[in-house]
Protein backbone atom coordinates (compact mmCIF):
# COMPACT_ATOMS: atom_id res chain seq x y z
CA UNK A 1 0.00 0.00 0.00
CA UNK A 2 2.92 2.32 0.64
CA UNK A 3 3.93 1.85 -3.02
CA UNK A 4 0.38 2.73 -4.07
CA UNK A 5 0.67 5.86 -1.93
CA UNK A 6 3.67 6.72 -4.11
CA UNK A 7 1.48 6.34 -7.22
CA UNK A 8 2.95 2.99 -8.29
CA UNK A 9 0.51 1.60 -10.86
CA UNK A 10 2.00 -1.91 -10.82
CA UNK A 11 1.51 -2.12 -7.06
CA UNK A 12 -2.03 -0.85 -7.50
CA UNK A 13 -2.72 -3.61 -10.05
CA UNK A 14 -1.63 -6.19 -7.47
CA UNK A 15 -3.87 -4.57 -4.86
CA UNK A 16 -6.85 -4.66 -7.24
CA UNK A 17 -6.21 -8.35 -8.06
CA UNK A 18 -6.12 -9.18 -4.37
CA UNK A 19 -9.29 -7.36 -3.30
CA UNK A 20 -11.51 -7.01 -6.38
CA UNK A 21 -13.51 -10.22 -5.91
CA UNK A 22 -14.15 -9.46 -2.24
CA UNK A 23 -15.30 -5.90 -2.88
CA UNK A 24 -17.40 -6.93 -5.87
CA UNK A 25 -19.08 -9.65 -3.78
CA UNK A 26 -19.75 -7.15 -1.00
CA UNK A 27 -21.25 -4.67 -3.46
CA UNK A 28 -23.33 -7.38 -5.10
CA UNK A 29 -24.69 -8.53 -1.75
CA UNK A 30 -25.54 -4.92 -0.88
CA UNK A 31 -27.08 -3.91 -4.22
CA UNK A 32 -28.26 -7.33 -5.53
CA UNK A 33 -27.35 -6.17 -9.02
CA UNK A 34 -24.32 -7.32 -11.06
CA UNK A 35 -23.99 -4.15 -13.09
CA UNK A 36 -24.24 -1.84 -10.07
CA UNK A 37 -21.79 -4.04 -8.15
CA UNK A 38 -19.21 -3.80 -10.94
CA UNK A 39 -19.64 -0.03 -11.32
CA UNK A 40 -19.33 0.47 -7.56
CA UNK A 41 -16.25 -1.75 -7.40
CA UNK A 42 -14.64 0.38 -10.09
CA UNK A 43 -15.58 3.56 -8.21
CA UNK A 44 -14.27 2.09 -4.94
CA UNK A 45 -10.82 1.42 -6.40
CA UNK A 46 -10.76 4.80 -8.07
CA UNK A 47 -11.33 6.37 -4.64
CA UNK A 48 -8.57 4.20 -3.19
CA UNK A 49 -6.18 5.42 -5.90
CA UNK A 50 -7.13 9.06 -5.41
CA UNK A 51 -7.18 8.96 -1.60
CA UNK A 52 -4.34 6.51 -0.96
CA UNK A 53 -2.23 9.25 0.61
CA UNK A 54 -4.85 9.75 3.35
CA UNK A 55 -4.76 6.13 4.56
CA UNK A 56 -2.73 5.56 7.76
CA UNK A 57 -1.79 1.97 8.61
CA UNK A 58 -1.67 2.62 12.35
CA UNK A 59 -5.21 4.01 12.41
CA UNK A 60 -7.23 1.47 10.43
CA UNK A 61 -6.65 -1.84 8.62
CA UNK A 62 -6.61 -1.53 4.86
CA UNK A 63 -9.52 -3.96 4.36
CA UNK A 64 -11.59 -2.00 6.89
CA UNK A 65 -10.86 1.27 5.07
CA UNK A 66 -11.63 -0.35 1.71
CA UNK A 67 -14.98 -1.70 2.92
CA UNK A 68 -15.88 1.66 4.46
CA UNK A 69 -15.36 3.30 1.07
CA UNK A 70 -17.41 0.59 -0.66
CA UNK A 71 -20.19 0.86 1.91
CA UNK A 72 -20.42 4.64 1.57
CA UNK A 73 -20.64 4.31 -2.20
CA UNK A 74 -23.38 1.68 -1.86
CA UNK A 75 -25.33 4.02 0.42
CA UNK A 76 -24.95 6.90 -2.06
CA UNK A 77 -26.00 4.67 -4.97
CA UNK A 78 -29.00 3.41 -3.02
CA UNK A 79 -30.09 6.99 -2.30
CA UNK A 80 -29.65 8.00 -5.95
CA UNK A 81 -31.58 5.05 -7.34
CA UNK A 82 -34.25 4.69 -4.67
CA UNK A 83 -37.00 6.41 -6.62
CA UNK A 84 -36.13 4.62 -9.86
CA UNK A 85 -36.08 1.23 -8.15
CA UNK A 86 -39.40 1.89 -6.46
CA UNK A 87 -40.92 2.78 -9.80
CA UNK A 88 -39.43 -0.39 -11.36
CA UNK A 89 -40.71 -2.52 -8.50
CA UNK A 90 -44.22 -1.19 -9.00
CA UNK A 91 -44.10 -2.06 -12.70
CA UNK A 92 -42.85 -5.60 -11.94
CA UNK A 93 -45.55 -6.10 -9.32
CA UNK A 94 -48.23 -5.01 -11.77
CA UNK A 95 -46.92 -7.06 -14.70
CA UNK A 96 -45.60 -10.17 -12.94
CA UNK A 97 -47.45 -13.25 -11.76
CA UNK A 98 -49.33 -13.00 -8.50
CA UNK A 99 -47.18 -14.21 -5.59
CA UNK A 100 -49.79 -16.85 -4.71
CA UNK A 101 -49.25 -18.53 -8.10
CA UNK A 102 -45.50 -19.09 -7.52
CA UNK A 103 -44.18 -22.28 -5.84
CA UNK A 104 -43.75 -22.08 -2.05
CA UNK A 105 -39.92 -22.16 -2.20
CA UNK A 106 -39.92 -19.37 -4.73
CA UNK A 107 -42.31 -17.29 -2.62
CA UNK A 108 -40.13 -17.85 0.44
CA UNK A 109 -37.05 -16.79 -1.50
CA UNK A 110 -38.79 -13.68 -2.77
CA UNK A 111 -40.09 -12.81 0.69
CA UNK A 112 -36.66 -13.20 2.26
CA UNK A 113 -35.11 -11.23 -0.57
CA UNK A 114 -37.53 -8.37 0.09
CA UNK A 115 -36.98 -8.68 3.85
CA UNK A 116 -33.20 -8.32 3.35
CA UNK A 117 -33.71 -5.30 1.10
CA UNK A 118 -36.03 -3.75 3.69
CA UNK A 119 -33.58 -4.18 6.55
CA UNK A 120 -32.13 -0.91 7.84
CA UNK A 121 -28.82 -0.27 6.08
CA UNK A 122 -26.62 -0.91 9.13
CA UNK A 123 -28.32 -4.25 9.85
CA UNK A 124 -27.99 -5.30 6.21
CA UNK A 125 -24.32 -4.30 6.10
CA UNK A 126 -23.61 -6.19 9.31
CA UNK A 127 -25.30 -9.31 7.91
CA UNK A 128 -23.50 -9.08 4.56
CA UNK A 129 -20.09 -8.58 6.18
CA UNK A 130 -20.46 -11.45 8.66
CA UNK A 131 -22.36 -14.02 6.60
CA UNK A 132 -20.60 -17.39 6.36
CA UNK A 133 -16.92 -16.98 5.53
CA UNK A 134 -17.08 -13.23 5.80
CA UNK A 135 -15.40 -10.98 8.31
CA UNK A 136 -15.00 -11.55 12.00
CA UNK A 137 -17.37 -9.55 14.19
CA UNK A 138 -14.44 -7.39 15.30
CA UNK A 139 -13.51 -6.43 11.71
CA UNK A 140 -17.13 -5.86 10.70
CA UNK A 141 -17.59 -3.62 13.75
CA UNK A 142 -14.59 -1.57 12.59
CA UNK A 143 -16.13 -1.11 9.11
CA UNK A 144 -19.35 0.16 10.68
CA UNK A 145 -17.42 2.17 13.27
CA UNK A 146 -19.34 0.60 16.16
CA UNK A 147 -18.39 -1.61 19.11
CA UNK A 148 -18.46 -5.41 18.76
CA UNK A 149 -21.42 -5.47 21.13
CA UNK A 150 -23.33 -2.98 18.95
CA UNK A 151 -22.50 -5.01 15.83
CA UNK A 152 -23.81 -8.21 17.42
CA UNK A 153 -26.95 -6.34 18.36
CA UNK A 154 -27.40 -5.27 14.71
CA UNK A 155 -26.86 -8.87 13.59
CA UNK A 156 -29.34 -10.16 16.17
CA UNK A 157 -32.05 -7.76 15.01
CA UNK A 158 -31.44 -8.62 11.35
CA UNK A 159 -31.50 -12.39 11.94
CA UNK A 160 -34.59 -12.19 14.15
CA UNK A 161 -36.47 -10.23 11.46
CA UNK A 162 -35.51 -12.79 8.81
CA UNK A 163 -36.29 -15.78 11.05
CA UNK A 164 -39.76 -14.42 11.71
CA UNK A 165 -40.25 -13.98 7.97
CA UNK A 166 -39.09 -17.58 7.47
CA UNK A 167 -41.69 -18.80 10.00
CA UNK A 168 -44.49 -17.21 7.99
CA UNK A 169 -43.68 -19.59 5.09
CA UNK A 170 -43.23 -22.85 7.03
Amino acid sequence: MSRVQNRDRDAFAVLVSRHLDGIHAFNYRMTRNQEDAADLAQETFLRVWNSAATWRSHRVKFTTWLHRIARNLCIDAHRRHRETHEADANIVAEDGAAPEDAPAASRLRQALDEAITDLPERQRTALVLCHRDGMTNRDAAAVLAVSVDALESLLARARRTLRLKLREYR
Binding site: R7, V16, S17, H24, A25, A37, Q42, L46, S153, R167
Partner: protein
Protein backbone atom coordinates in the same frame (compact mmCIF):
# COMPACT_ATOMS: atom_id res chain seq x y z
CA UNK B 1 -27.94 -22.09 29.12
CA UNK B 2 -31.69 -22.24 28.60
CA UNK B 3 -33.71 -22.11 25.36
CA UNK B 4 -34.29 -18.37 25.58
CA UNK B 5 -30.60 -17.58 26.09
CA UNK B 6 -29.75 -19.96 23.26
CA UNK B 7 -32.14 -18.11 20.93
CA UNK B 8 -30.57 -14.80 21.97
CA UNK B 9 -27.04 -16.01 21.14
CA UNK B 10 -28.24 -17.73 17.97
CA UNK B 11 -29.35 -14.33 16.68
CA UNK B 12 -26.12 -12.64 17.75
CA UNK B 13 -23.62 -15.24 16.51
CA UNK B 14 -25.51 -17.18 13.82
CA UNK B 15 -26.01 -20.90 13.28
CA UNK B 16 -22.32 -21.73 12.79
CA UNK B 17 -21.30 -22.75 16.31
CA UNK B 18 -17.62 -22.61 15.29
CA UNK B 19 -17.98 -18.81 15.15
CA UNK B 20 -19.32 -18.65 18.71
CA UNK B 21 -17.13 -17.93 21.72
CA UNK B 22 -15.77 -21.33 22.90
CA UNK B 23 -17.49 -21.45 26.28
CA UNK B 24 -20.90 -20.54 24.80
CA UNK B 25 -20.53 -23.01 21.93
CA UNK B 26 -19.95 -25.90 24.35
CA UNK B 27 -23.04 -24.96 26.38
CA UNK B 28 -25.09 -24.57 23.19
CA UNK B 29 -24.08 -28.02 21.86
CA UNK B 30 -25.03 -29.59 25.15
CA UNK B 31 -28.42 -27.80 25.16
CA UNK B 32 -29.20 -28.85 21.58
CA UNK B 33 -28.68 -32.48 22.59
CA UNK B 34 -31.17 -32.34 25.45
CA UNK B 35 -33.81 -29.74 24.40
CA UNK B 36 -36.35 -30.23 21.61
CA UNK B 37 -37.10 -26.49 21.52
CA UNK B 38 -33.38 -25.69 21.18
CA UNK B 39 -33.10 -28.21 18.31
CA UNK B 40 -36.05 -26.50 16.53
CA UNK B 41 -34.43 -23.09 16.96
CA UNK B 42 -31.10 -24.42 15.72
CA UNK B 43 -32.72 -26.02 12.65
CA UNK B 44 -34.56 -22.79 11.89
CA UNK B 45 -31.34 -20.76 12.17
CA UNK B 46 -29.52 -23.17 9.84
CA UNK B 47 -32.38 -22.94 7.35
CA UNK B 48 -31.99 -19.19 7.41
CA UNK B 49 -28.21 -19.40 6.87
CA UNK B 50 -28.79 -21.76 3.97
CA UNK B 51 -31.38 -19.40 2.43
CA UNK B 52 -28.94 -16.51 2.86
CA UNK B 53 -26.30 -18.48 0.93
CA UNK B 54 -28.61 -18.34 -2.06
CA UNK B 55 -29.63 -14.74 -1.51
CA UNK B 56 -26.20 -13.35 -0.61
CA UNK B 57 -23.91 -15.35 -2.91
CA UNK B 58 -20.19 -14.65 -3.12
CA UNK B 59 -20.24 -13.68 -6.79
CA UNK B 60 -16.84 -13.37 -8.45
CA UNK B 61 -16.04 -10.13 -10.24
CA UNK B 62 -16.86 -10.27 -13.97
CA UNK B 63 -14.02 -10.87 -16.40
CA UNK B 64 -12.52 -7.64 -17.60
CA UNK B 65 -13.46 -5.62 -14.52
CA UNK B 66 -9.85 -5.42 -13.32
CA UNK B 67 -8.73 -4.15 -16.72
CA UNK B 68 -11.57 -1.61 -16.66
CA UNK B 69 -10.55 -0.38 -13.21
CA UNK B 70 -6.91 0.03 -14.24
CA UNK B 71 -7.73 1.61 -17.58
CA UNK B 72 -9.86 4.30 -15.96
CA UNK B 73 -7.30 5.55 -13.46
CA UNK B 74 -6.88 9.28 -13.95
CA UNK B 75 -3.66 10.39 -15.62
CA UNK B 76 -1.92 13.23 -13.85
CA UNK B 77 0.74 15.47 -15.23
CA UNK B 78 4.27 14.60 -14.11
CA UNK B 79 4.70 17.95 -12.39
CA UNK B 80 1.52 17.37 -10.38
CA UNK B 81 2.75 13.92 -9.30
CA UNK B 82 6.02 15.49 -8.22
CA UNK B 83 4.24 18.27 -6.36
CA UNK B 84 1.68 16.01 -4.69
CA UNK B 85 3.99 13.19 -3.69
CA UNK B 86 7.55 14.44 -3.44
CA UNK B 87 7.63 18.23 -3.14
CA UNK B 88 5.20 18.93 -0.33
CA UNK B 89 7.49 17.79 2.48
CA UNK B 90 10.50 19.97 1.55
CA UNK B 91 8.12 22.84 0.84
CA UNK B 92 6.58 22.48 4.31
CA UNK B 93 10.03 22.36 5.91
CA UNK B 94 11.10 25.47 3.96
CA UNK B 95 8.06 27.31 5.29
CA UNK B 96 9.05 26.76 8.95
CA UNK B 97 11.61 29.67 9.17
CA UNK B 98 9.06 31.95 7.49
CA UNK B 99 6.39 31.11 10.06
CA UNK B 100 8.86 31.46 12.98
CA UNK B 101 10.09 34.81 11.61
CA UNK B 102 6.55 36.07 11.29
CA UNK B 103 5.78 35.05 14.86
CA UNK B 104 8.90 36.72 16.27
CA UNK B 105 8.24 39.89 14.28
CA UNK B 106 4.68 40.05 15.56
CA UNK B 107 5.86 39.74 19.19
CA UNK B 108 8.49 42.49 18.81
CA UNK B 109 5.93 44.84 17.26
CA UNK B 110 3.52 44.23 20.13
CA UNK B 111 6.33 45.00 22.68
CA UNK B 112 7.12 48.37 21.02
CA UNK B 113 3.42 49.27 21.11
CA UNK B 114 3.30 48.58 24.84
CA UNK B 115 6.27 50.99 25.56
CA UNK B 116 4.62 53.76 23.55
CA UNK B 117 1.39 53.26 25.51
CA UNK B 118 3.20 53.76 28.88
CA UNK B 119 4.72 57.13 27.75
CA UNK B 120 1.31 58.26 26.55
CA UNK B 121 -0.19 57.43 29.97
CA UNK B 122 2.45 59.60 31.76
CA UNK B 123 1.55 62.69 29.69
CA UNK B 124 -2.20 62.26 30.38
CA UNK B 125 -1.53 61.87 34.12
CA UNK B 126 0.51 65.09 34.17
CA UNK B 127 -2.33 67.05 32.54
CA UNK B 128 -4.81 66.15 35.26
CA UNK B 129 -2.56 66.15 38.37
CA UNK B 130 -0.98 69.58 39.37
CA UNK B 131 1.79 67.94 41.42
CA UNK B 132 2.69 65.79 38.57
CA UNK B 133 2.50 68.84 36.27
CA UNK B 134 5.03 70.70 38.49
CA UNK B 135 7.55 68.00 37.72
CA UNK B 136 7.42 69.06 34.10
CA UNK B 137 7.38 72.87 34.74
CA UNK B 138 9.74 74.82 32.55
CA UNK B 139 12.27 77.20 34.22
CA UNK B 140 11.10 80.89 34.30
CA UNK B 141 7.37 80.20 34.33
CA UNK B 142 5.21 81.30 37.31
CA UNK B 143 2.41 79.15 38.51
CA UNK B 144 1.66 81.07 41.77
CA UNK B 145 -1.28 83.10 40.39
CA UNK B 146 -2.97 80.02 39.12
CA UNK B 147 -6.08 79.01 41.12
Amino acid sequence: MDDETFEHFLDRHGADLDRWPDNLAADARSLVERSVRARDLFREARELESALDGLLPAVAAPLGLKARVLANLPERAAWFEWLAVKAWRPAAIALVPLVVGFGVGLNVAQGADATANVAEDDVLLALFDPDELARYELPGTDTADQP
